[in-house]
Amino acid sequence: MTLTDEEQKEVTKPVGLGVVGWLRWGWRTLTSMRTALILLFLFALASVPGSVFPQRNVDASLVARYYANDPVKAEWLDRFWLFDVFHSPWFAAIYLLLFLSLVGCVLPRTLAHLKEIRRKPPAAPRNLLRLPHHDEFTADLTIAEAAATLKKRRFRVETGPDWVAAEKGHLRETGNLVFHVALLVLLIAVGAGGLYGYKGNVLVVEGDGFANTVAAYDRYVPGASVSAESLEPFSFKLTDFQATYIGPGHEKVGQPLTFSATLSVKDAPGAAERVVDLRVNEPLDVNGTLTYLIGHGYAPVFKVTDGQGQVAYEGPVPCLTSNTSTYESECVIKVPDARPQQLAFLGRFLPSTLPVGEEWISVFPGAANPTVQVWPFAGDLGLDSGEPQSVYDLSAHKNLKPLGTMTVQPRPLAVGEALDLPGGAGKIEFTGVKEWISLQTTYDPGRMPALVASIAAVLGLVFSLTIRRRRVWVRMKDGRVTVGGLSRTEGSNFTDEFAEIVASLNPRSGVSDDR
């Protein structure tokens, strides 16, 4: 979409003098088809690094790994926004220029098209037999009859004393313009969604609840114009989570089949509870705020008794899945309330345990035979030091000492079993297994406008690519009827349709036009 060839020629001509001339030249160059083409190529090319390098908005942990592997190179890549390609100034520069070029083309063409639509079909040329499609026959045909026949074929018709002019196919350019305007609207909708929407991630263990507030999220990414008070005030409790997997005997044993989380949801404080079966592809919708099931894992339940005989911790511990085909998971248990020393544990959770020699592995993601291997530590967790810590990591704690001798493969605990800690430091009991789910909540007010714009774009595209503009003229003189036709869309085949039109005009052809 841009200027026609004739306008194009003007662009390449030398330019007039003065600032205005140069500005006009700049505008014409920007809105020329050639520039649009180059910008389209640049747009495509500029997206490529976004698929080659890990992107922060897709998976920040991959970017972190890139930094760890090659800090110098990562530093340089980051200088050119190569980890944030789609939010980089140079990417924005390309699409803004492209859309400016688009506006500069769509505006004048819309005005021209509006004028064109209101115009009557042009009067018939003198000699219709010179047109690319033409025919003549002798018949007793009146102007009104010819006009009516063409009107039935949905032509716009204009009549003169001895001629009929007809035209159709304006929908082609209308579709073309709708398509390009829809792309502009789409860009605006995407931008607005980013500005006024938010997304948050949270991990919930079976039996626990969640209330939609900023503080409840593990990670919360608001748009620039979102206030914390505007969050939809719903809450829910995760009562159950079920996953099913392909059983043994198939090449893809262990592949997940279904995930289903049962939530009891309150749309607002005080509202009635409703039970929702949350599944992949079926998010929870509370007034346009959507909550998605995006991950799951295990949270074994532990009871830790300290050296003084007090229960220092009791509850589920969400573990990170280290192997997604067997759901072997790594757990960190921190027990700051333990006395006389604080306690911590590393655990390896095995949902379907199988002993292999002196080792234990998990062979299936379902919790068919859950066990956990435990490595105990004692000392100072340093939680008061103020330094940030991860709940999934023990490596930052330098003041922890292993309790007893560490082995690579300690004998795992089954549900109900306990490990007595050496030196009377207490004991840890593995009391049960729960599952956790990770959820993403998104609110994006740009979704619906973007959808409407997309639908308009597809419809406009279909019209602009399938509809042809054509003109037909009929002239009558002394019983001789001459018909001329002109296709205004290059490369289209008008011959068959023109023959049909001629036949329907000729009363003697035997073609009755029942449209």
């Binding site: 997206s47 490529v48 992949v280 995006i294």
Partner: protein
């Protein structure tokens, strides 16, 4: 029939389709090579078989033309095997039979062959058969040797009615773009040799064939991208996140848009525009094969072992 029998039948039918496409290719090639002494192209198309003049050259022409017709018949049989293979696979797994890369490539080849077969019913494009059947045989061979996955259910994210909408559109568009790619490649290969010097049709005809299929394919691809966004909105909580697959679907879209614009630009018509269309087709293929294998991301369900 049990699921296992159906799955096995599907695998065997794919092998049959490969052989049939290869046999068809031989037929097409014979016709291309011997049916027309280049200078006589027009004469033969105009004559109706019955009016072939009894010159010396008429003899080889007739058998070669028959080879071409037999090739079309073989392609139809191969197509039927391809359709049945896809159907039986679908029945065996009780879902839409394009849930992994093996199934996708089989369906895409089916779409390309379908486009060719129905085109040759309406337009004189039998010469395309030689190249489409090669691509079909190689594509199916590649999917059997490299991409094959045992029939089975899909992961929960793919267990959605959106497969029927999004993936079907992507397959249909890919099939059309494949035929467009063949015509564009032939255009470049043929070069500007005159009417009598090449066994291929005139440049303008090749150009029109490429344009026609791409013009149909482009809105379908646009729809595939948009329905993909709708599905992503349902499954992942965002409709567009620049996942590698999304990036390359977008690049492919922009590249085909560039082709359509180039074709409407003075100085770009013909060769330059068709080179752009081939670049776009390259992006499509890279998105299909390269992205699944090199980049991973959320669309990495290729299931390639």
């Amino acid at each position: 029939m049990t699921a296992d029998t159906l799955a096995t039948l599907s695998d065997q039918l794919i092998l049959a389709a490969i052989l049939l496409y290869l046999a068809a290719m031989v037929g097409y090639a014979l016709e291309l090579a011997f049916a027309t002494r280049p200078a006589q192209v027009r004469e033969l198309v105009a004559s109706d078989g019955s009016t072939i003049t009894e010159t010396q050259e008429a003899e080889p022409v007739a058998w070669a033309m028959r080879a071409g017709r037999i090739a079309v018949g073989l392609t139809w049989v191969g197509w039927a095997a391809n359709v049945t293979a896809t159907l039986t696979r679908g029945l065996a797994v009780e879902r839409w039979p394009w849930g992994n890369m093996y199934e996708f490539v089989v369906a895409m080849i089916l779409a390309a062959v379908t486009v060719y077969l129905f085109m040759q019913l309406r337009y004189p494009v039998r010469f395309l058969g030689a190249f489409v059947s090669v691509i079909a045989a190689v594509g199916l061979g590649f999917s059997v040797r490299v991409l094959y996955t045992q029939a089975g259910p899909v992961v929960p994210a793919l267990d959605s009615y959106w497969v029927a909408i999004h993936v079907t559109a992507a397959i249909a568009a890919s099939g059309l773009f494949t035929v467009g790619g063949v015509a564009a490649a032939l255009y470049l290969f043929r070069g500007s040799r005159g009417e009598g010097q090449s066994r291929l049709p005139a440049l303008a005809d090749l150009e029109r064939i490429a344009h026609r299929v791409i013009v149909i394919g482009f809105p379908i691809w646009t729809f595939a991208v948009i329905s993909g966004a709708l599905w992503a909105d349902k499954a992942w909580g965002r409709y567009w996140n620049w996942d590698p697959k999304e990036v390359w679907a977008f690049i492919t879209w922009v590249a085909y848009a560039a082709y359509l614009h180039a074709r409407a630009t003075a100085g770009w018509k013909g060769k330059a525009a068709l080179i752009v269309s081939l670049v776009a087709f390259g992006c499509l293929l890279f998105n299909l094969v390269g992205v699944n294998i090199f980049f991973g991301g959320l669309h990495s369900y290729a299931d390639v072992n």
